[in-house]
């Protein structure tokens, strides 16, 4: 028998103090966290969350609002350690979610403004057709310091550690060509049969190579408002059958604006001499998302609209919302690094 003893590596400091519930940062998230701790009726929950929400705040950039909503969506994903799993379908928490979702969706529709859904596929192609890389990817590729690049990875972790999961909620709600194409795309996101190639796992490996934690919980308390907005948009679209067109339009825009930025971000990782795992994640997406773009626009959205042409407006709305929220995030992250500089 071997004498080799494998000792677990001691966890870095920042992994020790991860609480089982996020730290509230205002009245909305406080009201939600309280609902997660203590039972309440639907009427009480609705009243409390409504009282905490100030209608003059912009839900899309208010961290308190987005954190409250994020906690409610988390019940449908991994949940919170130590809380009752039945909370996922508790009338109180569903009522709280509905109170926040209404102004959230309204704000998204205001943000994108009027849309032209006459030729939705062409419109999605037009919205995503630029070959010019966006400013955030350019900054990461050329100028970001090692600290800023690490901060970018940490900020985006709340999404990439759950990559593609919100879109899986849509699978049973679409049919035929759209279903087959969405399943194909998701299969690729989920490693095409190889667990070590799951995109979320590639991202976890990139984080681990920089000694950063690999669980979502470690990143929520420091995530910018708009970072939470990006994941909440996907959850809103993914969890409502009514919004399946928006979910797939969002997916198409997301995939269609990924290859060129990812190539630049990978170059940034090489420029900074980061471990190979970091560039590997982005290089996989240069190639994969060039495929996913075509599949998502033509087969997934095209297939959906073939059988449900009435969803044209939703598909364009989802795509425009993806791009507009991306812009908000880029602005927030560049400002964050400017402030810190």
């Amino acid at each position: 028998m071997s004498d080799i003893v494998i000792r677990p590596r001691p966890a870095p400091d920042h992994q020790i103090a991860v609480p089982s519930l996020p730290r509230p940062c205002g009245p909305v998230s406080q009201a939600v966290v309280t609902l997660l701790r203590e039972p309440a009726t639907a009427t009480q929950a609705e009243r409390r969350v409504r009282a905490a929400f100030h209608p003059h705040l912009d839900p899309l950039t208010d961290r308190d609002f987005q954190l409250g909503l994020w906690c409610l969506y988390e019940l449908h994903l991994d949940g919170f350690p130590g809380t009752d799993p039945a909370l996922e379908w508790s009338p109180a928490l569903l009522a709280a979610r509905a109170v926040l979702e209404e102004p959230f969706e309204a704000a998204l529709r205001r943000l994108v403004g009027p849309l032209s859904p006459d030729d939705p596929i062409e419109e999605v192609r037009r919205l995503t057709g630029s070959g010019r890389p966006p400013r955030l990817a350019r900054f990461l590729g050329r100028d970001a310091t090692a600290d800023q690049f690490r901060d970018y990875l940490a900020q985006r972790a709340v999404y990439h550690l759950r990559e593609s999961d919100p879109q899986s909620f849509v699978l049973p709600r679409v049919h035929g060509r759209a279903k087959a194409a969405l399943a194909e795309l998701q299969y690729d996101e989920y490693g095409a049969g190889r667990p070590d190639r799951l995109h979320a796992t590639l991202y976890a490996r990139a984080l681990a190579s920089l000694d950063l934690p690999t669980g979502v919980a470690a990143y929520v308390d420091t995530a910018e408002a708009t970072i939470l907005t990006t994941v909440n948009v996907m959850a809103l679209f993914g969890l409502h059958r009514r919004l399946r067109g928006a979910a797939l339009g969002h997916l198409a825009a997301f995939e269609a604006t990924s290859s060129i930025p990812c190539r630049l971000i990978a170059l940034g990782a090489h420029r900074l001499g980061f471990p190979a795992a970091v560039a590997t994640y982005y290089e996989e997406h240069v190639e994969a998302d060039a495929v996913h773009e075509q599949v998502a626009i033509h087969d997934i959205c095209g297939g959906l609209l073939e059988s449900s042409p009435e969803l044209a407006g939703d598909v364009v709305f989802g795509a425009a919302a993806c791009l507009a929220v991306d812009e908000l995030t880029a602005t927030a992250l560049l400002a964050r690094w400017e402030r810190a500089a």
């Binding site: 037009r126 070959g131 010019r132 590729g141 599949v295």
Partner: protein
């Protein structure tokens, strides 16, 4: 910046296990669908890497020139 009708798009191919590149090199297919570069500008050839979109930002006359094999180095979109 609307998409130009004649800007090339990659070809999506399913159900093959090997793609042979223009130089004769065999590339194993590791995903359920692959996008084959149709613009000759990809740095990941034979796979598309999104570079074809740069063509849509250019004027039509330069697009034609860029796509001739003797037109020199591919344009960098970044």
């Amino acid at each position: 910046m609307s998409a130009r009708a004649d800007a090339p798009e990659p070809t999506i191919v399913r159900g093959v296990s090997v793609v042979v590149g223009a130089d004769g090199t065999a590339h194993r297919v590791e995903r359920p669908a692959v996008a084959l570069c149709a613009c000759a500008l990809s740095r990941l050839a034979p796979w598309c890497d999104g570079t074809h979109k740069a063509l849509r930002n250019e004027r039509p006359d330069t697009v034609t020139d860029r796509r001739r094999p003797d037109a020199g180095a591919p344009p960098a979109p970044w």
